[in-house]
Point group: C2
Chain length 361, copies 2
DNA sequence: CCTTGTTGCTCATACGTAGTAGCACCGCAT
DNA sequence: ATGCGGTGCTACTACGTATGAGCAACAAGG
């Protein structure tokens, strides 16, 4: 009964049954509140008493084995939470996921066992897929191995992916920050400030989220008839070439749309080195949510918490109805005003460059 | 085979067995690598082939039911992660826990299902203890209901508690930041700066962590023969009475040891209102790790990540050996130098108060 | 008295795995 | 021929639960 000598067997339904003088099935029926199993109030009471005196607690594992749901939702991050540079990157998603999980009476499983101790995590390890513990899972982060995703989908396991990720033949649903629209909106904002000649400064990384940003930028630029002078746009380099900087210096390019805070910082340094200022000479917008420690960039906000919540909701739908449609969800990113976009006229006024106004060639 | 119409039954050992032309037991033996079960290489190979073609993955749930460990470690926070004022409070612990879990090949279960949607979480809900899913659990946070802890311990469930928590008749192990020693060390530091008359400003909250701080302070003060002039020390008020402030103003008290950053900030405002400065007139040390946004307080660092790691290690020990000793662990807190402690002489020199030097009555 | 229906349960089985016990067979020594 | 030990498996059961099928008892209706 006590803890004195380690752990003793927990009470099970058959123990309860014995004490109450009924069969195990009767106990099960009372517990799972089976409506159409006529157990009279008196017996029912006896069973509940027995449960109380034995301190019986149902075993969720056994329950699940019998085909019921575990009420566990998995969270698989392809990298460990901890070594991530921006501490809050995963955490913000996790908060939303946790919040919604609590509301829907689910517990979360953080899959960490498949890590190599250093960071990278796999779904399949030793031919074992631990995700099956959970009724379904939210996948998160940069998955290096798309075959794993394909396989998981192929097995019919319910999962959603945070962030767009396309895998041929595995049309799993993704919860996607709408970078396309946000990028377009930012271009529009710059346009409204009079800018007509842009440079796009890209990261060296590839991947769907970046494609979306680039797509959004490209189509907005085209639609507005804007002159884009990105030399590195289609190349693999990080794009901060001298040619681009020359464009800023001679005033032929007045606005920069950059993919990351990191690059934005680099850009700022290089501009400063040439005696140019932001937004005095060049307006800059960043296509990710910046940490905001130094410069207050004009940027966008990825609604991580909300995305986490949506992911849980979509996942639960999939778990409950395996035949439900599995469409991806786009989530709007708010474009946030900072201090790095100014109108072209102001730029010309306060600028030290000798260039013509924004519409010049 | 495909995902086209929802989920189909996953392959199990009996399927593999049928395909390989052996019995289910044989498959189990090959999988669990049972050494003393003579399965010749040829059969073994056939089974492995069948596993590969069927894409069989072992079911951890069933495995557990059979008495094996789940390799799941629970994390139970008595409040939700998210609404906590200091976002990183739980998160830092979680990082350590995750780190160590990954290294020891465990997955984590975040118990959120027992919440009321608003924050407070219970261990037992509807007479069900979900913790049993995990092999053992790390408990974390302010547990309002000690009976739950007693019951959990009574059932023999393996768990550790982060932070000291004493429950009569349930001597479970705790991982404890050594506030006693840190508090004593801070008193010593002030002593070394020439301070001889102290005030202790306490929080209105009760609980073991605060008792430890008060104990440490009290014993250090006694041991060093220091004059303590805390009027509110034993009272329930937050202790920032006018009497204390008078003591600072007339120079009869030169140092304050306060329990929280919140109170430290209040103290600073009140001192400023009386024309006193920190550390010019009063030296202040804080007995928790401050956020560091404004003032750089002399304070202490709670090694949260390390505590998380230790918790996991202790827990695993308990899981593996139910009869192992269950002692608590003290973890040293580093005392960190800030900008709010100065030596008494300097205080007198730059101070505007008319009081005598620190040893005066 | 026989049918029909209802109440209050119990029986048996399945879920997927691990492990204990043991069976059939073979080779070899006695 | 008989015993013995080893090889290569299989049979069976337990883990704790949920559930379809069904059975005994009784009541009501004919």
């Amino acid at each position: 009964m006590t803890n004195s000598t380690g752990r003793q067997r927990a009470a099970r339904q058959s123990d309860v049954a014995a004490l109450a003088g009924v069969s195990q099935s009767a106990v099960s029926r009372v517990i799972s509140g089976d409506a159409d199993s006529r157990i009279p109030e008196e017996t029912r009471k006896r069973i509940l008493d027995a449960i109380a005196t034995l301190g019986y607690v149902p075993n969720p594992i056994a329950r699940n084995l019998r085909g019921k749901r575990t009420q566990l939702l998995g969270v698989h991050t392809f990298e460990a939470l901890f070594p991530n540079a921006r501490e809050s990157f995963y955490f913000q998603f996790l908060l939303g996921i946790e919040e919604r999980a609590e509301e829907t009476r689910h517990d979360l499983v953080l899959f960490s066992s498949t890590g190599d101790g250093g960071g990278a995590r796999k779904i399949y390890r030793d031919e074992t897929n631990r995700l099956t513990i959970a009724d379904g899972s939210v996948l998160l982060g940069m998955s290096p191995d798309r075959d794993e995703l394909a396989r998981l989908w192929h097995e019919g396991y319910p999962f959603v992916h945070i962030g767009r990720r396309e895998v041929l033949g595995a049309p799993f649903p993704c919860i996607i920050p709408d970078y396309r629209r946000a990028a377009a909106e930012i271009v529009r904002r710059l346009f409204d400030h009079g800018h007509r000649s842009f440079a796009f400064v890209r990261e060296s990384i590839e991947g769907e989220p970046y494609e979306d940003r680039r797509d959004g930028y490209r189509s907005a630029v085209t639609e507005l008839g804007i002159r884009d002078s990105s030399p590195g746009f289609l190349s693999d380099e990080s794009g901060l070439s001298d040619a681009v900087l020359d464009g800023f210096a001679d005033g032929s390019v007045t606005a920069a749309v950059v993919e990351s805070e990191r690059i934005a910082e680099t850009l700022r340094e290089r501009l400063t080195a040439r005696g140019l200022s932001i937004p005095g000479d060049v307006s800059v917008a960043v296509l990710e949510d910046t940490a905001g420690a130094g410069v207050r960039w004009d940027d966008l906000r990825i609604p991580r918490k909300q995305i986490g919540r949506i992911a849980v909701d979509r996942l639960i739908e999939m778990v409950e109805d395996p035949d439900a449609p599995r469409e991806s969800v786009l989530v709007a990113c708010e474009v946030v005003e900072g201090e790095t976009i100014a109108s072209v006229r102001a730029a010309v006024r306060s600028g030290s460059a000798a260039g013509p106004d924004g519409s010049a060639r």
